[in-house]
Symmetry: C2
Subunit: 321 residues, 2 copies
């Protein structure tokens, strides 16, 4: 059932024992939103359980309250809960894990993804916001909550994660104004960016190896890199930095990253500045968005490169007509 | 003479033929501020000459009006000018070049650097702003100027350049609010960041080479890289990306970049997360800020490394006491 932000607030206000969760493979928006909301609800005296069916990456250990997030399997289920709040994703097993998705508790879903499937008991979806953290801030302001420094740090982290430090197309005037308000309440832009943008020595050495695999095609308009099993076996924080680097090369319109996995499947990531790489991915049963998509193809690296490069070239040439 | 922002506006309003300049080695703040101001003054019917005693990096060619900036030596000096506006730097020969610094015209200096030497006829210095672009926006709002899309793009570029896309410690709530206003008036955060953060293939290949020179000392708290003559001979956009990368490594507190130049002088750049590298640079006759400083030392690379590493280690250990 579609609810307004005020109705969402009322659902929360009416509950005392609340579980808050978000998607597996947690990121800054999911964790920052969970924590930002929980700091306020705890201050109201509510009993809050924060749980995720996954590990918390070390990168986010600086977030105030992060140590209170437990694994979904550790939730004390003998207690009766009034409400399950699912943030920043669908309330499905595939997104929040089976443990919490199978709970018999009313579910409130708050999300900013246009792809949200709206299957929760109650849902508030605002796809005009860059991050779920923006919605949580609106919610807290609506409730006249005191925006503490801890809340400001969590929600600022949530916002900058999903708008790429205000560099993605989803950055609106409201995104920047909300960030300004959070800085007024104690979020330190430099400290948060230093925490989030730390790279490990392993990442850096992997980047060096990956740069050696760079190939350019179609007059430098398509750039590709290949992550070998050896590179992937290293302790890499995220392979996104590699493809983003390649995408930033002057004149490159489509960036492609091939990951050679163990079972003769090549995972392909595609990024563009406007060319519709979603259409390329869909040919091979994958998908995503216009500027960021992916697919997995069974085959040798040489075969897969040929297939993808052909499809990407057609996409580029089509774009020109 | 110290003037208020209103007095600065009055000086500009009272002039008809105006030259606007900024520092050599122009960056996004200098060029964006010059252009943002000029778009408004041209709309008032004033005769504006935009000049810099240096080349304009290709990176900034996307800025609306950039082609109207001429080299200082091309200024038609036969005309009489009413005012020279110097933005984002001192009005000295060393900063704006001799051609314009030696003009016999009243000078108005608008800057955000606390180090401004205040030698201009009239100066307005606000070191609370992250960028001169912020001051120009305030000036235009004070004048009830229409913030056109062209102005918004120029001033947004100015601001994001000097606050590192809102990641540096100088990012204030006002910085973010002003950016929000510029987005409302047509600046596109994603397009501007894509333009500013383009890297060339040469940069990327140089990065690969530079990463091979990485050395870690003092338990990984000091990281250093060396740019050889061969690397420096390549067409690199900026060496800042290299040292910034090194500075982002987890646990690194001081990042050092050595540039081996042709005349047995080693240029040293220092960056930190808090340790006072200005004090390290000062030992060798250099200087800068607490977190970013540099110096040049005559000697072999091995000698210089030893000197700098010793001084940096002392600085780190001192910090701990």
């Amino acid at each position: 059932m579609d609810v307004s932000l005020i109705q969402a607030m009322e659902k929360i206000a009416g509950a005392n024992k609340i579980i808050i969760t978000s998607h597996i493979r947690p990121d800054g928006d999911s964790l920052g939103s969970m924590l930002g909301l929980s700091h306020y609800l705890i201050s109201l005296g509510k009993e809050i359980v924060l749980a995720i069916e996954d590990e918390i990456p070390r990168l986010f250990h600086f977030l105030p309250g992060i140590q209170s997030i437990i694994h979904a399997k550790e939730v004390p289920f003998e207690k009766k809960y009034d409400l399950l709040i699912v943030l920043d994703t669908n309330s499905d097993t595939s997104r929040i894990g089976e443990t919490l998705a199978s709970m018999q508790v009313p579910t409130l879903n708050i999300d900013h993804h246009p792809s949200n499937n709206k299957t929760a008991d109650y849902y508030y979806i605002d796809s005009q916001t860059a991050a779920t953290g923006e919605i949580i801030l609106q919610l807290l302001l609506l409730a006249n909550a005191e925006i503490t420094c801890a809340i400001a740090v969590c929600l600022y982290t949530a916002i900058v994660t999903d708008c790429g430090f205000f560099r993605y197309a989803n950055t609106t005037p409201n995104t920047l104004k909300r960030a300004a308000l959070l800085v007024e309440h104690g979020a330190k832009p430099n400290e948060i960016s230093e925490n989030l943008e730390k790279i490990t020595l392993d990442d850096l050495m992997a980047l060096r190896d990956v740069l050696s695999t760079l190939e350019l095609d179609v007059n430098g308009r398509i750039a590709s890199i290949t992550l070998t099993r050896e590179t992937l076996a290293k302790n890499i924080s995220s392979t996104d930095i590699f493809i983003n680097y390649i995408r930033s090369i002057a004149d490159v319109e489509i960036a492609i990253m091939y990951k050679i996995t163990d079972n003769s499947i090549i995972r392909v990531s595609l990024r563009s500045h406007g060319a519709d790489v979603n259409q390329v991915a869909q040919i091979f049963g994958g998908g995503g968005h216009q500027r960021a998509a992916g697919c997995s193809i069974n085959g040798s690296i040489d075969e897969v490169k040929k297939l993808i490069l052909t499809a990407a070239t057609v996409q580029l040439e089509g774009k020109q007509q």
